[in-house]
């Protein structure tokens, strides 16, 4: 053996031996002290997307899978990114009844398009909502409304948002309800709504009615008519704009009565499930 190899080997061999001993101890320990896992766990875990988004309310997909195995009461429809497909798989693996997943869809609470509102200034700065918003709330006369430079369009991972006629519109059939756009909008115009809901308020202007009316003919003037007609008491005008409490807005005996009674047409009927946009009255 050449002399040069001796110091190398005297260094390598002890380290390798220590490594092998450690590995051996770990193997023995993991075999001896293995904690018995539910045999359904790998199958259940396999169904879940593995994005660890936490939308189900558990700590990651592993946490949800564990809860599903341990507690038969855990609903199988909590995985929102996985939607109905995952829920169906889960119900097959666990042998329970299939439960429909209530997906959420992003909705833009503004309908101040080019026909219904005007520009108050000419803006030639950076083409971004965040930048435009710093300059006196953007070029539009309504400082609460959609700025129209498409920060949400750029942020949307599904390319579900487009600027149509100066206002961001979400295509519900492409929207996966991730909520990225809700954080991007400088005016906080976008919110996530369960796709079972049928009516949306498309205005966020918090000014008094007369002021709102001056800047946008589609704006909510806070007349409280919708409050009065809603059979479930789900609509409340707060800060001069109608807000729907979606916990109360459930099985409506007179669907769309709020939209029909709205004087400015800012409450609209939509079918978020089938993917139709909130249509104008």
């Amino acid at each position: 053996m050449p002399d040069v190899l001796v110091p190398i080997l005297t260094a390598v061999i002890p380290v390798v031996i220590i490594g092998i001993i450690c590995a051996g101890v770990l193997v023995v320990a993991s075999k001896l002290m293995a904690v018995k896992e539910d045999e359904r766990f790998p199958a259940v875990r396999e169904c879940l997307p593995g994005a660890n988004c936490g939308a189900c309310g558990f700590a990651g997909c592993d946490g949800y899978a564990k809860a599903l195995c341990d507690d038969p009461e855990t609903p199988t429809n909590l995985c929102i990114p996985g939607a109905d497909g995952v829920s169906r798989q889960l119900s097959e693996v666990l042998g329970v009844e299939f439960a429909d997943v209530i997906e959420t869809v992003a909705v833009v609470h503004c309908s101040g398009d080019c026909e219904h509102t005007r520009d108050k200034v000419r803006y030639s700065g950076i083409e971004s909502c965040a930048a435009a918003n710093i300059m006196f709330g953007g070029k539009g006369s309504c400082t609460y409304g959609c700025l129209g430079y498409g920060d949400c369009t750029a942020a949307c991972p599904q390319e579900a948002i487009r600027i149509v006629n100066g206002v961001a519109r979400v295509n519900p059939s492409d929207c996966v309800g991730c909520g990225v756009c809700t954080k991007t909008c400088p005016n906080k115009l976008i919110s996530l709504i369960p796709d079972t809901k049928r009516v949306v308020v498309t205005c966020s202007n918090r000014d008094k009615g007369a002021l709102t009316r001056k800047v946008c003919s589609n704006g909510c003037i806070g007349c409280r008519k919708c409050e009065k007609v809603c059979p479930l008491g789900a609509i409340k005008v707060t800060n001069n704009v109608a807000v729907i409490d979606y916990d109360k807005c459930t099985e409506c005996p007179d669907l769309g009565v709020c939209a029909r009674s709205c004087t400015t047409g800012c409450i609209r009927v939509a079918n978020l499930k089938s993917g139709s946009l909130p249509s104008q009255r």
Binding site: T10, A11, P14, C22, V25, L26, A29
Partner: protein, 198 residues
């Protein structure tokens, strides 16, 4: 070795040569896990635990394996190897026998595998020429010092959370400034311990 000497080692490891605030080892968990008191406590307890076990294993390895074979230059890699394996073993054992503790230590236990404070304490024990008992006491002191720094700093951070901070300082900048001031305050301990037993 008398009790007094051990006490000096314990206290100086915890206060004067505090691993986080004076030696700047283990800064990553200090900034990363100090946001909430309970996670800071969990992390610190896990660190104390692992530091003690790591010292108990690495000191004999150094003295009875590396030194006799003139392999001291392998110290770092062997220690890392042993500590990593050890932490995994501890995790397996805890999961089996003390699931409650395993759950409360949670993700922090595997995180410690590569914590430089743990490697630091084992190597500094050897460098300081401590015997086995002194090494163990030094590890305990260092762990307690880490615990103290974490708990104190989580208090500082929860106070920061509720204060009106200029926008440009929000987040990491103010955290680093607060860490620097906390570390400055530990300078005050210098010289105290020696005089305590004089």
């Amino acid at each position: 070795m008398d009790i007094k000497g051990l006490l000096i080692i314990l206290l100086s490891a915890a206060f004067i040569n505090n691993y986080v605030l004076s030696r700047f080892l283990g800064i990553c968990p200090f900034l990363g896990v100090s946001k909430k008191l309970d996670s800071a406590t969990g992390m610190s307890l896990a660190v104390i635990f692992v530091m003690l076990i790591a010292t108990a294993v690495t000191w004999p390895i150094q003295m009875y394996l590396l030194v006799p074979n003139h392999l001291e230059y392998l110290q770092t890699i062997v220690f890392i190897l042993v500590i990593a394996a050890l932490v995994q073993l501890v995790e397996i054992v805890l999961k089996r026998y003390i699931p409650a503790l395993h759950k409360s230590l949670g993700v922090y236990l595997p995180l410690i595998t590569t914590n430089c404070a743990v490697l630091g304490v084992t190597i500094l024990n050897i460098d300081s020429g401590y015997d086995f008992l002194q090494s163990m006491v030094n590890s305990l002191g260092s762990g307690l010092g880490f615990f103290l720094a974490m708990v104190m700093f989580s208090g500082v951070r929860s106070t920061l959370e509720g204060s009106d901070i200029p926008k440009s300082f929000k987040g990491l900048p103010i955290t680093l400034i607060a860490a620097a001031i906390t570390s400055l305050s530990f300078l005050g301990f210098g010289g105290v311990i020696e005089n305590l037993f004089a």
